[in-house]
């Protein structure tokens, strides 16, 4: 059995573990503990091996695996109902003024200097403060996926990805610039 039929896509020809670390990184930011993250990644591979969310030959296998991971995470959240999906957080984000167009948002040197000095813990905390959708979009962008690929993972139009990413990055900048240990 092959994880993904066909040789195309980034990482083609690599073994089953080629995307393990990138999947694990996203899982760590979606879940609350390293243990939950590991279970999520393992479930992702199990679903991939069962051929869920059918892979389209020639498409990006990494995006396909991310989609499975996201679906597995949402299923787990619904099943356990220990923490509801966060429509409120998404709405809060979507109601924020678009930073790209907001003249007052840029704080000049102070923000820039602060951004250049932030440490990993602060960035992780700021990311966890975003809605899950926003967090996922930011992380997929960091991992190098394009808007079309992210849209495939998220199940939304590319235009929605663009606006979500823009707003999420604006909120991140704002929070990191405000962060005071």
């Amino acid at each position: 059995m092959h994880l993904v039929p066909g040789p195309k896509g980034p990482g083609a020809g690599d073994g089953p573990l080629a995307y393990l670390d990138v999947l694990h990184r996203l899982a760590r930011l979606l879940t609350r503990s390293a243990t939950d993250a590991e279970d999520l990644v393992q479930e992702t591979y199990a679903r991939a091996l069962r051929g869920e969310a059918g892979f389209t030959p020639g498409s990006d296998r990494r995006a396909w695996l991310f989609r499975i991971l996201r679906n597995a995470h949402l299923d787990a959240r619904r099943r356990e109902a220990r923490s509801p999906i966060e429509p409120a957080a998404v709405e809060e984000l979507s109601n924020r003024p678009d930073a790209a167009a907001a003249d007052g948002f840029l704080r000049g040197d102070a923000e820039l200097e602060r951004l250049r000095r932030v440490v990993g813990e602060e960035i992780e905390a700021a990311l966890r403060g975003l809605s899950e959708d926003a967090r996922t979009v930011v992380m997929l962008d960091v991992e190098g996926l394009g808007e079309a690929e992210i849209a495939e993972v998220m199940g939304c139009p590319p235009g929605t990805v663009k606006s979500r990413l823009s707003r999420a990055r604006a909120v991140l900048r704002e929070r990191l610039a405000d962060y005071r240990p």
């Binding site: 994880l3 393990l20 694990h24 243990t35 951004l115 240990p181």
Partner: protein
């Protein structure tokens, strides 16, 4: 091209998704517009922070092994594989299985405890490696630049609510200076050293309330937890109510020698 259009295009410009004509237009605008240039610098700084400073939690060896097993199990085209970890109690109802379940539960509990300990070590090691990398990247890594212990140690007074030990030069190890930094949620004394062409960072911070990893070796006669993260070696140990972390890219032998010298200095 107006500022709004340019700012909406900055992300695509950095990702190389603009065609040549549009990219040139954006660059021309950036040259003449300070506001948009600052916006671009801030966005680039955020990119750098996300790409370089966000802890990149690599999959553990245990997870790697489990996925490999999953893969191997599927190779024979047998029944659809299912994750083998954490079976749900509700699925296990046969009375005859109760005794077996008790035995399995002990095993699962032990495995989970092991994973929790691994998680603590990974979290701390990731954090201190990130601090070390920040120092390496910083144009001004020291708040006090001095190779003299009796200058660096007193400098921390009034800046920290604890008094760290500051080991001085020994052998090829040279003290370069000190600074105040952060480890997780608390202030830390940051001491920088050079060992030949390698940089070595020693962090000291209060241990209270930290989920401390279990020791997996001895260093300088004290129990310590050692790990490798992103090519850097990390040794963590406690001395009284302080925790210390040693980070460097030196080889395993040098790291062991370093820890053997420095750990006793912090436990006097």
């Amino acid at each position: 091209m107006d500022c709004t259009t340019v700012r909406e295009s900055l992300h695509d410009l950095r990702r190389g998704r603009l065609d040549a004509v549009r990219a040139a237009e954006v660059r021309v605008h950036l040259k003449g517009c300070l506001g948009c240039r600052r916006e671009e610098e801030a966005e680039a700084a955020l990119d750098h922070a996300l790409a370089e400073r966000l802890p990149r939690h690599a999959a553990s060896a245990a997870l790697r092994r489990r996925v490999e097993e999953l893969w191997a199990a599927s190779a024979g085209a047998g029944p659809s594989p299912r994750p083998r970890s954490r079976p749900r109690l509700s699925r296990i109802v046969a009375p005859a299985a109760v005794a077996a379940l008790a035995i399995v539960s002990v095993g699962l509990l032990a495995e989970r405890q092991l994973r929790v300990r691994e998680e603590r070590l990974e979290r701390l090691a990731d954090e201190v490696v990130t601090d070390h990398l920040r120092l390496l990247a910083s144009a001004h890594p020291y708040d006090i630049e001095s190779g003299i212990t009796h200058e660096v140690k007193p400098w921390f007074e009034g800046r920290l609510d604890f008094a760290p030990e500051v080991p001085g030069d020994r052998g090829e190890l040279r003290l370069l200076g000190g600074a105040v930094g952060y480890v997780l949620d608390r202030k830390a004394a940051v001491m920088s050293y050079a060992l030949r062409r390698h940089r070595v960072t020693l962090l000291a911070f209060p241990a209270a309330g930290l989920a401390w990893p279990q020791a997996n070796r001895f260093a300088g006669g004290a129990p310590a937890a050692a790990d490798e993260r992103r090519g850097f070696r990390v040794v963590l140990w406690r001395a009284g109510d302080l925790a210390y972390a040693l980070v460097s890219d030196v080889n395993a032998e040098d790291m062991e020698l370093l820890a053997g010298e420095i750990v006793p200095e912090t436990r006097r």
